[in-house]
Symmetry: C2
Subunit: 129 residues, 2 copies
DNA sequence: CTTGACCTTCACATTAGTGGCAGGGTCCAC
DNA sequence: GTGGACCCTGCCACTAATGTGAAGGTCAAG
């Protein structure tokens, strides 16, 4: 598909798709007329990139972990560069920290919302009573 | 405590503490000489801010949800502004999405690391055999 | 064969989050 | 009473991510 369609399917503006390409996150083929051509699997990949960016992970790091995120374990595990494992562990742990942190705070917000609702309910019963 | 001590305790540079203040996230008292004075409870608050920023949440939004994150439910639930609940729900859901997303990808990374280790182990047994 | 919807590159602008420094005040300890 | 460690404000600069728009090529449909 061309860039406009991919943008529509992912919700990521074409501008950003070109930017991600520039950062080495995706490498669309080119048609004879110069247009970018995106394979279907890139839809998921772009969504993944968005999610990672939105979670505060810079593109520089995304580019190094992205190949490890494709589900059917890519053939690439062979001759793993020595630094790669360490990097993955670091990033994995960082993600775990974020997860724990987000869960904790999300639950706080949920409790707060419940408190608001409880207060509203109570107020209503006061009005009625 | 003064800004240097808070910086040390939180790992957040003084420069950033001033920035967070500018963004309305913390409001230290001032000594007669103009020095900022931070109460102890701000240590946790600053850590919370860091975590949220690192998770890709902009300070603008942090400032609106931060009051709802203090653990002993603040007295503030009363006269909840109408938009607040909606905003909290939105942000809570956004956080839930991030959590799911991060868990999924973290697990992918973990599997990849395990694959690396398995490959290394296998290689060793080949050498030995 | 022209119009409109796409696409291209290039470039400039903005925002958020940072880092860093200069010029100057405060205060403790020697 | 001086030096060093701390604080202040203000400003300039940088990066990453993003918006926007100009100037121009492609192509299908009328």
């Amino acid at each position: 598909m061309r860039i406009g369609e991919l943008a529509k399917k992912t919700g990521v503006p074409a501008r950003m798709l070109r930017y991600y390409e520039e950062q080495g996150l995706i490498s669309p083929r080119r048609l004879d007329n110069g247009y970018r051509m995106y394979d279907d699997y890139l839809v998921d990949r772009v969504k993944k990139i968005r999610g990672l960016v939105d979670s505060g992970i810079p593109t520089r790091i995304i580019s190094s972990i992205l190949p490890c995120l494709d589900q059917p374990q890519t053939i690439v595990v062979k001759n793993a560069e020595p630094g790669l494992r360490e990097l993955l562990v670091t990033e994995r742990d960082r993600m775990s920290d974020k997860i724990d942190f987000l869960i904790h705070n999300r639950d706080s917000i949920t409790r707060y919302i419940e408190a608001i609702d409880a207060a509203a309910t109570q107020e209503q019963s006061l009005e009625a009573g």
